[in-house]
């Protein structure tokens, strides 16, 4: 990859934004983020990641973006994951287990209905 110019940086920004924001008609229908900081991993985030990966493979789903991120701040409620459907507020899930992850995959990722029992809240944090 050649070195970036200022214009290239802006292009990457635009392109990356387009994938980062879940828009209807975008390349992905749903984005699933598993929070994998040290706290998350210690609480079992890898198992949650595996569960989602397996579910995706089993169902041969391709329009779901499965990705990772760092600590979400609420370390005592890890493992956590965020599910964001195109055009909808992201929903944060806490205290996950592989069992819960399977349920929320079925209901929210596939079915489009957030699972209220496992959800902490919807929307996002106040950043600058």
């Amino acid at each position: 990859m050649p070195k970036l110019s200022l214009a290239d940086l802006e292009k990457i920004r635009e392109k990356a934004r387009a994938t980062a924001i879940m828009r209807e008609g975008g390349p992905y229908r749903v984005k699933v983020t598993v929070h994998m900081g040290t706290c998350g991993i210690a609480a079992g985030a890898r198992e949650i990641m595996d569960t989602f990966m397996k579910s995706l493979e089993e169902k041969n789903i391709e329009d779901v973006l499965l990705t990772t991120s760092g600590c979400a701040g609420m370390c005592s409620h890890e493992p956590m994951a965020t599910v964001e459907s195109a055009g909808k507020s992201p929903v944060k899930y806490i205290d996950l287990t592989p069992e819960k992850a399977r349920t929320l995959f079925e209901k929210h990722v596939v079915g489009g209905e957030p699972v209220q029992e496992y959800a902490l809240g919807s929307g996002s944090e106040r950043t600058i």
Binding site: L4, A16, H35, G70, S89, L120, T127
Partner: protein, 1026 residues
């Protein structure tokens, strides 16, 4: 939060989603248009947190009318400003249309944990994949670097950082811009910069989280700094214990190099900068910059004297800048958003936000980023939900081993660099270790000093030799061998170590000691003088936490151990040895032993009170009676005034010693508050009287219907040959609320109400009763009124967590259907035809904290309402009745109208007269009154035997050594605290049957087996055998 000055406030959403939908641009466009229309002084634009409607972003709420605009586009702005804000015609087409079905999931912005946080350093947390540079770029990553390289001179960058007010986030808070300027102006080439990621404070992990979750934010900050200072090589020092952070920073560096954001000719501007990662072996002293430099150079990590400072002579003798991870992560934002914006957040001298890692005894452990100046209480309670298990907040250690503790009474302290230093602590890295009432502050100081002793590099003698000396003294105090002079010695040593140590480690190491000495000197004194560890932690002093905590020194661990072995008789004997009222205490004790019980750390504390009741009941149901051995009367006559728990205890103790004791009781029956204030459904009369009869049988005379001051005076008592008098007349006078209408018909004194009912079976209440207060008297009055068929509501000004009544009593009251209106006070009692008919109430909210660390209620602005009542029972406090002194006594009286005594001996200022219980302390617990009676009896004995009254204190030891029962662990693992069997709610109406039924034999034995037997540790420590 809107500003009253403005006619209109536009709350524009600054949440993640909105930001990615260009809400900044929208905000800027709004501001431009508002200025153009000349509305700048009327309309204010405010950025808020995510409003939780991300699908409709960017969005805006117009206050005060709450008009909601969504999906705003730049081109809409001029029209919107003109139509709505200038001409006052809201624009329908841009307004939010609610969806058909509302989501039931809470909005993140409404959840306490997120509400008050503003993320700058953690701006990308949970949002980007740290291993993908494009994710970072999408969220305006490397925009600051681009700007710094193309639009700003190095001097301008430094100026911007200086103006922003950014200060070092890793320790002392040195102004970052100034530090950069020193390096830029220093002579010598090449120059270096270092990112300090050697996060060593126990409990601090914000730097790890930033490097793991958003490594590019650190790299970008470093690159900007490099440009400003003229540096081409940076080092990122990270501890080896952070493998994930190490891996991710490597990936980030590789990706940045690939894009040309690190390396040669960055963004085609001719600027070169690269970063090398150095792993640290995890020495705490590396947090100190000169040691860290030594470590980067590959030398032994030892500090050296400063000056010269690293800015002049750092890495390999060259000018070097060091900032920590969080500081670097802030830098790109200062450049993209500008100094003016950054400095608008925070306090006068501390700008921006600070990340705190909140750990310890806290409900939600985590990382919080808040504007500087937010109060400690807001972080602990509003954000993190308060202390785990709803225990009492005691203190928080801020800044790790180098910091100091902040006590509960400083919960209102705004957190910034200056305020924390004034309070004897420091910002440090921002690690917060929350401590509850079960933390011993001497032990805490000992813990941190052990840490710094181990981490001291040993180069300078004040630190190497001084810290171990301080630690020795602390150990002595913890073992109960300390002397009061030791405290001065500790302070002296601390001063010398602080002033003469070479580096920050030594200079700050004494902080945990000096701050605990400053705020918790009484705890040190308690260890030294009274051989007591109030938190029941220090093992040399604590026979077992339950035994240590019991005011009358019941060996709970021993009797529970006997129950586990089925030896109920022995278990009872353990109780009877110190307590003539075991049946009573087994029912009404507030069980402080259960609060300190170590089993409660992992699951539920042992049900000590219920077990006590079990053995006392076992004796009665098996035909036994309290064993009574009348003691020959070999000594003088002693008079006790009042037959409540204090008087009964004193009489019993004195009787055992061989005194002829007469207890004078004004009422018809003995027992004081036990007899007439505590309702029968909690304490059946026959049970109380059988224990009082046993005290009588032991040779104590109780004269009822004899009121001192009326039937007989105190002087008369001396005249009749009583050689000492113990005054235990309680606190039976109810305090008034001080609201209009309180004198009306229908307002009932709770004490009078309970007394009339319990002694004479008469009650004068209506059908709709309001009880005011949150203590035991309030609950007793409420549950009594409920049993008499009334519809009862309790009004309490704080919340459930702050309610002082016994937890189980509140639970049962709620189960019985008594309503509790929390956060409510009465403001006026209204009458019709001279009879109480309504109560005007005011809603309260908790705001800030009082000196004891309790949340403070203040009225809500629009919060008055009325409830229909015909009876009002104000139970907000009681005071002693001192009329028996007939106003001419020389006894010293406090401003709270209580009797003044020496708290160690219970002697008053008049020789021969002693006093204790509620008349001295104000309303307290049964057990505290019994303790006072016990101490008074011992003092009276010494007084009459002509001995000095000064008490000698020794560490308590258990008298019984009960061998362990030997349960298999898997058996123990299944055990759970049984819930107390009670009679069904429907059987409680219109009668006063005892509600709690007590444990069965099987329940009691199983529960006793669950005991962890903390007593064995102390027995072993003292070289005793079981």
């Amino acid at each position: 939060m809107t500003d009253q000055k403005y006619r209109m406030n536009l709350m524009i959403c600054g949440g993640t989603s909105c930001v990615s939908h260009n809400s900044f641009e929208v905000k800027e466009a709004l501001e431009r248009e508002i200025a153009r229309q000349g509305l700048k002084d009327e309309v204010c634009v405010v950025t808020t947190g995510c409003l939780g409607f991300c699908e409709a972003c960017p969005l805006m709420v117009v206050k005060p009318d709450d008009i909601f605009y969504t999906q705003l586009k730049l081109k809409d702005i001029p029209y919107l400003v003109e139509e709505h804000f200038l001409k006052g015609r809201p624009v329908q087409r841009l307004m939010y249309k609610p969806p058909e079905d509302g989501s039931r999931i809470a909005k993140l912005s409404e959840i306490g944990f997120f509400k008050k946080q503003i993320l700058i350093a953690l701006r990308n947390r949970g949002l980007i994949d740290p291993e993908k540079i494009d994710d970072y770029i999408a969220r305006d990553g490397y925009k600051g670097l681009a700007r710094a390289l193309t639009e700003m001179t190095p001097e301008e960058i430094i100026q911007e950082i200086k103006q922003s007010g950014l200060r070092g986030r890793g320790g002392a808070g040195f102004p970052t811009g100034l530090k950069w300027e020193y390096v830029r102006n220093a002579e010598g080439e090449p120059k270096y910069l270092i990112c300090n990621g050697d996060e060593g404070d126990p409990g601090a992990y914000m730097d790890r989280s930033i490097v793991e979750g958003d490594p590019h934010s650190v790299l970008e900050g470093m690159a900007i700094g490099a440009r400003a200072m003229g540096v081409n090589q940076g080092f990122l020092y990270i501890r080896n214990e952070y493998p994930l952070a190490y891996r991710r920073i490597h990936i980030a560096i590789e990706q940045a190099r690939e894009y040309g954001l690190l390396g040669k000719d960055i963004l085609g501007t001719g600027f070169d900068f690269d970063v090398k990662v150095v792993r640290g072996a995890g020495a705490f002293v590396c947090g100190e910059e000169t040691s860290l430099i030594a470590s980067v150079e590959g030398r032994l990590a030892e500090p050296r004297p400063r000056p010269p400072y690293p800015a002049q002579c750092g890495l390999w003798g060259k000018p070097t800048n060091i900032n920590n991870v969080e500081t670097w992560a802030n830098v790109p934002v200062v450049i993209t958003r500008g100094a003016k914006w950054f400095s608008s957040i925070g306090t006068d001298l501390s700008k921006g936000t600070k990340v705190f890692s909140v750990v310890g005894k806290i409900k939600t452990t985590g990382l919080v980023e808040v504007p500087m100046g937010l109060s400690l209480g807001e972080i602990i309670f509003d954000i993190c939900g308060g202390v785990a298990n709803d225990r009492k907040f005691k203190a928080v250690q801020i800044g790790g081993p180098s910091g100091g503790c902040i006590p509960a009474r400083l919960l209102n302290l705004p957190l910034d660099y200056e305020k924390l230093t004034e309070a004897g602590s420091m910002m440090g890295s921002g690690g917060m270790v929350v401590m509850d009432e079960k933390t011993c502050m001497v032990d805490l100081a000992h813990f941190f000093l052990t840490f710094t002793k181990d981490e001291s590099c040993g180069k300078c003698s004040p630190c190497r030799e001084g810290i171990p000396r301080m630690l020795e003294i602390l150990t002595k105090i913890k073992e109960g061998k300390g002397e009061m002079e030791d405290l001065d010695l500790l302070n002296d040593l601390a001063t010398v170590i602080k002033e003469t140590s070479l580096c920050g480690l030594g200079k700050t190491a004494p902080n945990p000691v000096t701050s605990t000495l400053r705020y918790f000197k009484d705890e040190y004194e308690s260890h030294i003088k009274y051989k007591r560890c109030p938190a029941a932690v220090c093992v040399h002093l604590v026979s077992s936490p339950c035994h240590h905590t019991c005011p009358i020194e019941t060996e709970a661990s021993s009797f529970v151990a006997f129950i586990a072995q089925g030896k109920f008789k022995e278990a009872l004997e353990v109780n009877r040895m110190v307590n003539p009222l075991a049946s009573v205490c087994g029912r009404v004790c507030h069980h402080p032993c259960e609060t300190t019980c170590r089993a409660g750390e992992v699951d539920e504390p042992i049900a000590v009170r219920a077990l006590k009741r079990f053995v006392a009941d076992y004796e009665r149901t098996n035909g036994g009676k309290p064993a009574v051995k009348p003691v020959p009367k070999k000594y003088e006559k002693v008079a006790v005034v009042g037959s409540g728990p204090a008087g009964l205890m004193a009489g019993w103790e004195l009787g055992k010693l061989g005194y002829s004791v007469t207890i004078f009781e004004a009422e018809r029956v003995a027992g004081g508050m036990l007899a007439w204030a505590i309702p029968e459904y909690r304490l059946p009369k026959d049970i109380l009287q059988s224990e009082i009869n046993a005290i009588r049988a032991s040779g104590v005379e109780i004269k009822t219907n004899t009121r001192i001051g009326k039937d007989i005076t105190i002087d008369d008592l001396f005249g009749r040959g009583y050689k000492a008098i113990f005054l235990a007349t309680g606190a039976p006078v109810n305090l008034r609320l001080g609201i209009p209408g309180e004198e009306k018909d229908g307002v009932v004194d709770p004490i009078e109400f309970l007394k009339q009912f319990n002694l004479k079976n008469k009650a004068k209440i209506g059908k709709k009763v309001a009880v005011i207060g949150g203590g035991n008297t309030a609950i007793d009055a409420a549950r009594t009124a409920w049993r008499l068929g009334a519809d009862v509501t309790i009004l309490y000004r704080r919340t459930r967590n702050e309610m002082p009544a016994i937890h189980e009593e509140i639970e049962e009251a709620l189960r019985e259907g008594i309503k509790i209106e929390f956060l409510t006070i009465p403001v006026e009692a209204c009458s019709e035809n001279g009879r109480l008919s309504r109560l005007k109430c005011q809603r309260m909210q908790l705001k800030g904290f009082d000196d004891s660390g309790r949340a403070w209620p203040v009225p809500v602005e629009v919060g008055t309402f009325e409830i229909e009542v015909d009876t009002l029972i104000p139970a907000v406090g009681q005071a002693p009745d001192l009329t028996f002194l007939n106003g001419n006594s020389s006894l010293r009286i406090s401003k709270w109208k209580t009797l003044e005594v020496n708290p160690e001996t219970m002697e008053t200022n008049v020789p021969g007269i002693f006093a204790g219980g509620d008349v001295v302390s104000g309303p307290a617990t049964v057990l505290e009154a019994m303790k006072a009676g016990k101490i008074a009896a011992q003092s009276i004995h010494r007084y009459l035997r002509g001995e000095s009254l000064v008490r000698e204190y020794k560490p308590k030891e258990t008298q019984f050594e009960v061998p362990p029962v030997g349960v298999m662990p898997e058996e123990g693992a299944e055990l759970m605290r049984p819930s107390m069997p009670t009679i069904p709610i429907e059987e409680r109406k219109m009668n006063f049957k005892e509600v709690e039924l007590g444990f069965t034999r099987e329940m009691a034995v199983r529960e006793a087996i669950r005991c962890l037997r903390c007593d064995l540790e102390n027995i072993r420590l003292k070289g005793r055998e079981v």
